[in-house]
Structures are given as structure tokens and as C-alpha cells.
């Protein structure tokens, strides 16, 4: 079965979720492009969008219609070629609408897992729960006559484990998109030992067609992205807890968040990022990693406590941030949660005291937003971190320790073969986390 034939019948499990909807969108666009090739004109293409929530599927239709329109508008130059044999489609607008119609017409929305039984390839984007993933994959495998290939979006579970538990005989790869899949260019591709070679080649071609930057981590829980993120988050939490003894918990959270954001020239602070990912998601991922890597220290009692108090972070359907350890107005943190009081404290009320504790930013500091665009950012950052080292204030000291710890995490990932090399680690950080610099650096 060649690439075109293989992709002709696909399914996305968890299609209405945050990750699933993006994966569905990219797959729909890829399938539509393939279906428009002259040799495929008379073939039926079917993409099964499967989710347990009927309501979420309804929202998914709207999302797809809007996003497919944007995709079509961006590639109208090439679409005019694909539709050149359709004399009635003359203006860009005709062509763009037809493309959206064509893409929507290959998608079948369903709440029933049975719909995936006819698929040649199955994208799995269910919640990060091993048993659930194994169960649904196994159910499809057992009932399908197509010997389907599975591409799982797991961000933490070793692929070999899923392969073994679902008895797939090498018909599964890790195909881990970053959030949101339609925007984020990085893709962690995990091909465990014994993986089907045709599946491997197919997946790499698909990733290329989806314009992804592919990094291939080793098949270890958490891979590179979460391998870094979870350890970095735990470091941030530990720093805050230590500082809290001296200055109070909400103050410590504000301080560490600000330092890990501004002083480290990162797009957001460690606690904002934890809220963005979802505190409950972090908890699940840490659990998987602690078990699989035999590292019980990958665990945070603070996270357990927050979850027990109903503080979970994550995003609303419109993409805006839900309250987490921080609370937000117009996307900016304005309050910090105090687990002892089970209440939020306004940042305004503690900012002056905390900023005085932190001390000034180096004069050469430029915010992440402007640094990221500069072609000579390496020189600028070297100069900046150099200046930071000459400073004695708390903020500078905490930032430098943070920077070193992040580098050590990166080196550990390479040493333990989770990453092939430092370049892969830095690619994930810069492309997937939008960092202005790689964590393995000489600053």
C-alpha cells in the first residue's frame, strides 16, 4: 500500500480535544491535497473524527471550517494549480471555498470507536492514561481487517510499552505534536526498536508534508519535551518552596515566576507554563515518568495539593487561560493562589516587596519578545548573561542557578540517551518552547 492509498482512510481518536482537533485539521488538509492529485480523483477519502463528546464534535466543525479557510487562503497559489481542471472555479474565493468544502466532505464525525475499524492509519490523541490508550487501540486492532498503523500523540508513555500491551507487533510510532498542533512546528517522532519500517517511512513523509521540524528522541518516558519541562518545573517548585519559608508562599511563586520569565528571557515563567500545560496534565505525566524511569523524585506534593483543591489550570475552549496557581486577566497573571488559605492573593499587593527582593534587571536586558526576532541574539544574550554574573542581587543569583540547572537537565537528557545530542535538545527548546536560546549553552 503506497502513501496515497494508506492515508486514504484515517481516523483521529480524541478528535475534539485540544491536540486531537489540531491533528485532525492537519490530517484533513494533507488528505485533501492528496485527494486532489489527478490520479486520485475517483478515489474515496475518509477521515473519521472520533470523540466521546457529541457537543465537542459540534464545536470541532466550527473550528475546522475557520482553520481550513485560513489554510486555503495561505496556499491559494498552489491550490489554483490543483484545481486548474475545474473551469467553473475562477476566482481565488471560488477555489478557497471549494477547498474547504472538499476537506470538510472527507471528514466523518462520530462518537463511536467502531468508526475507526475501517481506517488504515489511526492517530491516537486520547487523554494521557496508559490503560485507556491501550484499551482503545486494542479494541480497534482486534476488530479491524486493515491491520491499521497507530500514531500516538502521547507525550510521556514509552511507545514500546503501548506496542507490547496492545500487542501491535511494531505497528505503532510516537507522533507527538506540540500545542497547538496547527501552529507549533516541532514534532517528536519516536520509533521504538522493532518498529515496522514501512510505518516509519510513512510517518516521516507525513511529518514532512505537514511541514514539521522532526526530532527523534529515544523511547523513554517523557521524551525530550516533557523530560525537560517536568524536571524544570519541579526545580521551580522546589526553589519557590525554599524561598517561601523566608518570604511567604504567594510571594515566592511570584518571584520565581518572574525570574524564570524575565531574567531567563523565556516566553513565560515556570508557573504560568505549568498552568498553560494544565496542572493535572503535569501530574499525570510526572506519574508516568516516575514509574517508567524509576525516579520517584519526579513528583510534587504541591501539585497533588493543588489538584485536591480543584486548582488545575489548562485552557477554556476559546484558548484563554483558566485559573491555576496564577490567575489571569487578558492573559496576564494578576493573582497568586495560596493553598493554605485556599484563596487568591492579588499580585499588586505583594509586587513592590517582591521586586525589591529580586533587585534590578541587568541594563542590557531586552524582553523575550524583542530578543527572539533579532538576528544577532546570541551575542546579545552572551553579553546579557555576562552582566547578570556580575550582579549580587537575589534575582540575578536565582536566575543563574536556574540557568545552570536547565543546562544540567539538558545534559542529562543526552547522557541518558533520551536525546541523541545537544542539538536535538536545543531544537525542542527553541522550536517547541519558543526559547530564545538552547538550554545547553555556554552562557
Amino acid at each position: 500500500m503506497n502513501y496515497d492509498e494508506r492515508i486514504r482512510r484515517a481516523a483521529v481518536l480524541g478528535a475534539a480535544g485540544k491536540m486531537g482537533s489540531g491533528i485532525l485539521l492537519l490530517t484533513a488538509a494533507e488528505m485533501t491535497d492528496i485527494s486532489l492529485k489527478p490520479e486520485n480523483k475517483n478515489k474515496v477519502f475518509n477521515l473519521f473524527a472520533i470523540d466521546i463528546s457529541e457537543e465537542a464534535l459540534k464545536g470541532l466543525r466550527k473550528y475546522l471550517a475557520i482553520q481550513l479557510l485560513k489554510i486555503a487562503e495561505k496556499k491559494t497559489v498552489s491550490l489554483r494549480q490543483l484545481y486548474r481542471d475545474r473551469p467553473e472555479l475562477i476566482e481565488n474565493e471560488d477555489i478557497i471555498r471549494q477547498y474547504v468544502d472538499d476537506a470538510m466532505s472527507i471528514i466523518n464525525f462520530s462518537t463511536r470507536l467502531e468508526s475507526a475499524y475501517d481506517a488504515h492509519i489511526v492517530f491516537e490523541a486520547a487523554v494521557e492514561d496508559v490503560d485507556l490508550k491501550v484499551n482503545i487501540i486494542r479494541q480497534i486492532k482486534d476488530n479491524s481487517n486493515e491491520a491499521p498503523w497507530f500514531l500516538t500523540n502521547t507525550s510521556s508513555i514509552p511507545i514500546a510499552e503501548l506496542d507490547e500491551k496492545a500487542e501491535l507487533d511494531g505497528r505503532i510510532v510516537g507522533f507527538h505534536f506540540y500545542n497547538p498542533p496547527a501552529v507549533q512546528r516541532i514534532l517528536e517522532f519516536v520509533a521504538p526498536e522493532g518498529c515496522n519500517q514501512d510505518l516509519l517511512e510513512f510517518s516521516l513523509k507525513l511529518a514532512k508534508n505537514m511541514k514539521k521540524v522532526v526530532v527523534q528522541p529515544g523511547d523513554f518516558a517523557g521524551f525530550i519535551g516533557n523530560g525537560f519541562l517536568m524536571r524544570d518545573t519541579l526545580y521551580g517548585i522546589a526553589e519557590a518552596e525554599e524561598l517561601a519559608k523566608e518570604i511567604g508562599f504567594p510571594q515566592a511563586v511570584y518571584i520565581i515566576n518572574r525570574i524564570s520569565n524575565e531574567f531567563l528571557v523565556r516566553p513565560m515563567g515556570v508557573f504560568q507554563l505549568m498552568d498553560y500545560v494544565g496542572i493535572d496534565v503535569c501530574q499525570k505525566i510526572m506519574l508516568v515518568m516516575a514509574d517508567r524511569l524509576d525516579k520517584p523524585q519526579l513528583h510534587s506534593p504541591l501539585i497533588d495539593k493543588l489538584i485536591s483543591q480543584g486548582i488545575k489550570g489548562g485552557q477554556y475552549a476559546d484558548g484563554s487561560q483558566k485559573p491555576g496557581i496564577l490567575n489571569y486577566e487578558k492573559g496576564k497573571p494578576v493573582k497568586v493562589y495560596d493553598p493554605e488559605k485556599d484563596a487568591y492573593v492579588s499580585i499588586d499587593s505583594l509586587q513592590d516587596e517582591c521586586d525589591a527582593f529580586i533587585g534590578p534587571l541587568p541594563e542590557s536586558h531586552k524582553p523575550w519578545k524583542s530578543v527572539i526576532r533579532l538576528p544577532e541574539k546570541d551575542v546579545l544574550l552572551a553579553n546579557y548573561f555576562g552582566e547578570l554574573k556580575t550582579m549580587n542581587q537575589n534575582g540575578a543569583k536565582i536566575a543563574l542557578n536556574y540557568l545552570e540547572n536547565a543546562k544540567n537537565i539538558g545534559l542529562q537528557l543526552v547522557d541518558s540517551k533520551i536525546a541523541r545530542n545537544a542539538e536535538d535538545v536545543n531544537t525542542v527548546m527553541m522550536t517547541g518552547f519558543f526559547h530564545a536560546y538552547g538550554i545547553i549553552n555556554d552562557y
Binding site: K75, T76, V77, S78, R80, N92, E93
Partner: protein, 404 residues
């Protein structure tokens, strides 16, 4: 001509432009430019007739019948003649021609000529569909997604083949630099806020045919603009009636409107024959040569068009137009200053307004009203020329102005 007025050319580049926020409608632009000009003409009572140049408001903002907006500009224009004229991007030029004809036919002493376009109402990819109306619709299907950039990219490709690519692209980049630098001196220009320190490098960005055209990049293109311009066309009698001294006006001493067959492709992609013909006839009518010109406003819808128009006017032999630009001959203190407020690439290109905007700019320069953009007008060069082009060299309005 006298009493010129330009609104801001609004769109990307202006600090206050935000595509997600509501913007002024076409009524605002018609009203601002019309009233700006009327004020200088001594009020609507002095105006006998109105004419509106507009290309595609019927598609961009679903509004036709623009002639009837004149009484909206001023109650005093109620029940006076007014109509809208269209000739693609030469619609503004046609408004001037319509006004000139009325005055010359003695049916009016004062005509208010106004050009307007609002284009930011749709995304560029749909705007390209609308602007493609300036070509023959039967050719749309085979055309580029960005139809006119595609046409002029083909022209650029032919030009590169004949005269060399590298030098031509360099000339385009220098044209862009000149356009933006001139625009920085004019507060209504769309690129007025541009602070990029290295315009030539930016403009040398290699074209990407996957998302745009083969031979042109976005810096080779004029802007997508909302804006309007207005100017009074007056007889001697009209000047008296409006109380405008001759020194505040420019005299139209030659003009020409030429069209070519819209269903035919250009015979030679490297030449603009209609431009050459119209300019020659207008200058013959005025009894001048290019050596008499102090400044030119030319229709640089694309950088390649600027190069070809310079050649069509006779400033350079075929293939040598780019040298003029690279040498600085067309800069504000060069041999022949061209597009002194940035032209279509720097000032902006609200399509239906452009022909009128060119006349306003020349009126400002020849009457010493150009502010920071003012160039010196030598005693032995008292003339100026505007070239306004519709479609791909299909409708051309050339006008020769004389300092009074």
C-alpha cells in the same frame, strides 16, 4: 488645477492601522477629501460639477453609485451634476479628464474631481480577485492567484531575460528605498512611519513563487490602501469665482487619454507602449520635451513598472532604466525627481484615488506647498508630468502641468 487635498493613505505601515479593529468607511474618505478641497475652493457654491473616480467600491465595500455622494460631502452640491468614472487604477486620472473636458467644453467653470478607494475591507488574497477586474476576465482562470503581481512578474521575467536579472533586482531595491525615503517626508504617506535602517537589503529578499510570484516580492508591490484625494479643476473664470490667485494654481497645458485592447496580451512584455504613446501626445500638446520637466509622478504599481515607464518616457534606452534609479537620478535632488512623496509603493495606492493624488502632489510641488517633501523647481524647468495607468498598460492618462 488648484485646491488639492489628500487624506492619509491608510493600511499596513501606518502605526494606527490594526486589521482587527474597525476602520473608517468609504464615506469618511469621500467626505474628508471633498470637504478639504471645497474649503480651498470657497465652498460648494463655487462648484458647478463633481466627478468621482473609483475602481471597485462595488466589490470592496459593496457600494456603487458614488456620484451621488457629492451632496453628502456638502449639501450645496445637491441637484448639481456629478458622476462616477472607472478605468481600473486610472480611474482617478479619468476623473481629472472628465473635469478637464467639462471645463474645456464650457459646461463648468469649477469641477471638484475626487478619487477614492477602500481596499482593506478584504484580505489581500480576495483583494487580488477584485483588482483582477482590471484585466480581461476570460484570462483570470489561467492567471496567478495574485493576478496583477503575476502579470508584472511575467514582465519582470521577460525584462530579466533581455537585460539581466541582478542589476534589475538591484534597481528595484533602490526604487523601494527611494519610495520609502520620500514617504518619510510626507505625513499622509502609508510608509511615513517606516524606520527600517536597511531598505535595500529588505527589498532584495528573494521572491518566493510558492506563496507569491516568481520574480517579484512584496516590496516590489504598491500598497493596499484606503484613501481619497480631491482637487479643483477651474477655468480662468473659475479661479476668479473661487478667489484663487493664479500663483496658487497649476496650469494644465497638455493631456492625453489612451487605451489599448484589454483582450490582447502585450506585444513586447518589456515595454509599456500605451504609456509611451499617451506621454508623447500629452507632451506634444504642451509643446515640451522631457528636458523641461521638474518632476514626475509616475504609476509605480510595481517596481518593474517604474523602470519601464522611465524607459517609455525616453529618460533611458531599453534596459537602462534601472541605472537611472541606482545612480540617484530619480531621487529628490537628482536629475529628474520622481514620486516625491513616495508614489504608489511609498505613499500608497488607493487605486481609484491615485490619479488625483498624483495631481495633488504636483500641484503642491509647483506651488511651493509640499512642506517637508518640497523639491526645488528650477527656473528652466517649469513643467511636471503625471502618468496614471489602468490595468497592464491598457488605460493611460498623462497630464502635463505648468507652474504659473
Amino acid at each position: 488645477m488648484a485646491a488639492g487635498y489628500n487624506t492619509v493613505s491608510f493600511g499596513t505601515g501606518r502605526k494606527e492601522f490594526n486589521p482587527r479593529k474597525p476602520r473608517p468607511g468609504i464615506e469618511h474618505y469621500i467626505s474628508e477629501a471633498g470637504q478639504g478641497s471645497l474649503k480651498m475652493l470657497g465652498g460648494a457654491k463655487n462648484v458647478d460639477e463633481g466627478v468621482v473616480g473609483n475602481f471597485m467600491a462595488s466589490r470592496f465595500v459593496k457600494q456603487a453609485h458614488l456620484g451621488a455622494f457629492m451632496p453628502f460631502v456638502d449639501e450645496g452640491l445637491r441637484h448639481k451634476p456629478s458622476h462616477r468614472v472607472e478605468g481600473a487604477c486610472a480611474s482617478g486620472g479619468l476623473a481629472l479628464v472628465a473635469g478637464l473636458r467639462s471645463v474645456l467644453a464650457d459646461s463648468a467653470d469649477v469641477v471638484l474631481a475626487l478619487g477614492v478607494e477602500v481596499q482593506n475591507s478584504v484580505k489581500a488574497i480576495y483583494g487580488a480577485d477584485i483588482l483582477a477586474g482590471a484585466g480581461w476576465f476570460q484570462e483570470r482562470k489561467d492567471g496567478h492567484a495574485y493576478f496583477f503581481p503575476g502579470n508584472f512578474s511575467d514582465r519582470a521575467g521577460a525584462y530579466f531575460e533581455k537585460h539581466g536579472r541582478e542589476k534589475s533586482r538591484k534597481a528595484f531595491a533602490h526604487w523601494y528605498k527611494q519610495a520609502v525615503e520620500n514617504a518619510r517626508l510626507c505625513s499622509t504617506a502609508q510608509e511615513y512611519h517606516n524606520t527600517n535602517p536597511d531598505l535595500v537589503s529588505l527589498a532584495l529578499t528573494p521572491p518566493n513563487p510558492k506563496f507569491f510570484t516568481e520574480h517579484l516580492n512584496v516590496f516590489d508591490c504598491s500598497k493596499v490602501s484606503d484613501g481619497a484625494s480631491a482637487i479643483g479643476i477651474l477655468s480662468e473664470e473659475g479661479l476668479k469665482k473661487a478667489g484663487i490667485p493664479r500663483s496658487e494654481a497649476v496650469e494644465v497645458v497638455g493631456w492625453n487619454l489612451s487605451v489599448d485592447n484589454i483582450t490582447e496580451k502585450p506585444k513586447d512584455l518589456t515595454k509599456l507602449e500605451t504609456v509611451a504613446t499617451a506621454a508623447k501626445k500629452a507632451m506634444n500638446m504642451a509643446g515640451i520635451t522631457i528636458e523641461d520637466l521638474a518632476t514626475i509622478e509616475l504609476h509605480d504599481c510595481f517596481t518593474i513598472a517604474a523602470v519601464m515607464i522611465l524607459e517609455a518616457l525616453g529618460f533611458a534606452d531599453p534596459g537602462k532604466g534601472g541605472d537611472l534609479i541606482i545612480n540617484g537620478d530619480t531621487s529628490r535632488d537628482g536629475r529628474i525627481p520622481v514620486n516625491t512623496t513616495g508614489g504608489l509603493i511609498g505613499w500608497g495606492h488607493p487605486t481609484g484615488a491615485t490619479g488625483v493624488h498624483q495631481a495633488v502632489t504636483i500641484w503642491e510641488q509647483l506651488t511651493g506647498k509640499a512642506g517637508d517633501s518640497q523639491i526645488s523647481i528650477p527656473d528652466n524647468k517649469q513643467y511636471a508630468l503625471s502618468i496614471n495607468m489602468g490595468g497592464d498598460d491598457k488605460t493611460v492618462v498623462a497630464i502635463v502641468y505648468k507652474k504659473t
